[in-house]
Symmetry: C2
Subunit: 442 residues, 2 copies
């Protein structure tokens, strides 16, 4: 049993007092008491007494019509690569046990300013890469929740909090959203200020795992209006309130590198939703309709090796300084990445950046024929075991493109959750939400 | 008396054993013993015994022809916003007394990998902004060394180290280089990896204060080839060895916002060097020759207010989280900046970014009529007193442009040092050095 609960929906009853942020928090704390022992979404938690006091203050503000924002009083989970002033930041690595940056990250500060209550730090893989943490999938404890934003995804699915901050450089939001059956939003590159978040790579974005589209949008728009995007970037663009549903005329069904390895069930689920889209009057284009889609998809086959190369170079630091400190505290996966990185040189990296730029340009030109892309979020349900966080072949497209992506928990494969992924064009995050709100109702 | 000493020049005698990195270090340590008490360039120092042991190892490598790089064994100073694993990083703020990031910054790691010896952390203004530290100008102890890279500039001038890492978001490398009579190099935005350096703003660059052009180039190129530039940027481009001198045909004499406030002596010094350039056959263009120069200079009058606005928004975080912690530990200047920032909104910031982009585009088009720009580095010599780090009106141009800038210690005003500034086009850092090497000989 899972129980993702929308804070934005619940807040309709906060002004009248029929319900309150305190009531919402109590339900979350009860869910945590009931299931955290088996799920292990958290690495550190705020004292519940402090959370209750803050929820009571928010409850008063809502009763007085003086809430700070639409997420005032919302309990949030914070991926443990993102700094919090009141909890340590461990980065999923023994090198950072109990480490403190002595500040809030920009996103955490903004969420507090909007009245949200960071109730805990959530499990991340080691340095938001591949080596898994202990978190289990709330839908099936024998399966991975996906990574690297493992605890934020599992925590939303289990009803611990309606929104959990996450980061994605390969597939770290879209993939766990798919596996845990929650909404996942990775915005346009640079849209959310990464200050104080230890995800510095050139295709890494901060985003959110959430109980609903509205929770996802409300959380990130409240953050962006307060602290903006990365320095030099315009930040998440769009209205403060969730964009109204807008039915798209033309969507591009994208056969990413994951297509060939997707399960039969995943293919069937996708065909079924595609049929529903067509019935409601959405025109679907594929590589068989347009040569420019085929050409783009051919370029996209390079997404994974290109990302590996870029990430390996961009990770050389700080891995080298960590290795100098105590190489035994790096996982085998990280030590392998260092070996890959050490074989590179700056010329190879520059060539990779140029190739990535050409893929992005090809994608941008698709905006002339379609309003967004639709595809799967993962090749199938969460795999059994906790040793791997799963395959990123579908999730990686938006990462390499720097484009906004949404995973909608609309599909199932073998009774387990599977995400439908929408990928938008750069800076058109709000439009992607409008389309998603329409697709969700189909 | 000052005594900047070039390591690259000295290294000519390292293979033969006529001199050695250990000899170079001993001279630096003697200079430190003699003058650090009155100059106060350092906030933390490496144990000299450790530095000596490292210099001895480098001495052996040079004797064996096995030096790691052209800066193997070079003592370097590290501005105290840049993390070092063996020394705390205080950021010029009581909020960070004795704080440790538990890692080397990318640039520090790379300089060590190249064999350099970080011998100390150097004084920075509070968070690399305006509130000054205790450092005094080696040319006149009653005067500021300039900021924010105060200790790195003063340390080079006093012969404590031939290269000091610095950062510039307004005028923090070019200005102290001018005041202290040393070379200052602020590269193209993104050219040096800022990982682990707490200068996150969108026009902030890491660069170097140095005893010679060759020391400046050798230091940064050794770093860039090892850890590249900021993630997603190509990194400092050009040869590993200092670019050969190349006499320019056409330079643009830029009358920045500082022109109107420059001293008579500064104007006279500039006219004199301009005359020398013309005599050697360099054609000099000014706003009186070409309307596009005049138009660009008019746009540039907005550099300072625009930078203030951009910096205020981009500083809101982390200043807000520091203020929440203990506002009494922020200087009055910082508290003012927070007030400015709080009055802004993301819309104003986006407009400022757009205006900055238009100034950059106007500058880029000047590449069609000139090979680089030449101007002053400061409106006059270092001002008396330590309360202010001086006027940034000349230094700010390259910051707002994201362009490479070099300050050459070629001029004097009232017997005190004054820099001649060369500003190049984006990513043409190596060509700027080639031009500078030619100008330096005129």
């Amino acid at each position: 049993m899972t129980g993702a609960k929308s804070y934005i929906s619940a807040s309709a009853d906060f002004a009248s007092g029929k319900s309150s942020p305190r009531d919402f928090l109590e339900a979350a704390l009860a869910a945590i008491d009931a299931r955290e022992g088996e799920i292990e979404a958290f690495v550190a938690r705020l004292d519940p007494a402090i959370a209750r006091a803050r929820a009571d203050e928010a409850s008063k503000r809502w009763r007085n019509g003086a809430q700070r924002s639409s997420i005032d009083g919302m309990p949030v989970g914070i991926k443990d690569v993102i700094e919090t002033i009141d909890m340590p930041t461990g980065m999923g690595s023994p090198l950072y046990d109990n480490w403190r940056g002595e500040k809030d990250s920009a996103s955490v500060w903004a969420s507090r300013d909007a009245g949200a209550i960071p109730i805990g730090k959530t499990v991340t893989t080691e340095f938001a890469a591949s080596h898994p943490g202990p978190t289990r999938n709330p839908h099936d404890l024998a399966r991975t929740p996906g990574g690297s934003s493992s605890g934020s995804a599992a925590g939303v699915a289990a009803g611990f909090f309606p929104a959990g901050l996450g980061t994605q450089v390969v597939g770290s939001i879209v993939r766990p959203a798919s596996y845990c059956g929650v909404f996942g939003f990775k915005p346009t590159f640079g849209a959310i200020n990464r200050g104080g978040s230890h995800d510095y790579m050139s295709q890494s974005s901060q985003g959110v795992l959430a109980a609903s589209l509205n929770d996802a949008w409300s959380t990130l728009s409240a953050i962006a209006m307060r602290v903006g995007g990365d320095p030099g970037y315009p930040g998440l663009e769009g209205p403060l309130t969730p964009p109204e549903a807008r039915k798209p005329k033309v969507l591009i069904a994208l056969e990413t590198p994951g297509w060939a390895i997707a399960s039969e069930g995943a293919h069937a689920a996708f065909e079924s939703i595609k049929a529903r889209l067509i019935i409601t009057g959405v025109h679907i284009l594929t590589r068989r309709d347009r040569p420019e889609i085929e050409a783009f998809e051919t370029m996209l086959m390079r997404a994974l090796p290109l990302t590996r190369l870029i990430n390996a170079w961009e990770s050389l630091w700080p891995l080298n300084t960590y290795a100098d400190r105590d190489v035994s505290k790096l996982s085998a996966i990280m030590r392998e990445r260092m070996v890959e990185g050490a074989e590179l040189n700056i010329g190879g990296y520059r060539a990779a950046l140029a190739e990535r730029a050409s893929i992005r340009a090809a994608f941008a030109s698709l905006a002339q024929i379609g309003e967004a892309c639709v595809t799967l979020s993962a090749p199938g349900p969460a795999p059994l075991g906790l040793q791997s966080t799963g395959d990123p072949s579908f999730a990686i497209a938006a990462s390499v493109l720097g484009a906004p992506a949404l995973s909608l928990p609309m599909l199932t494969d073998d009774t387990l959750p599977l995400g439908l992924q929408l990928i938008g064009f750069e800076r058109a995050d709000a439009d992607l939400f409008a389309i998603a709100a329409s697709v969700e109702q189909m």
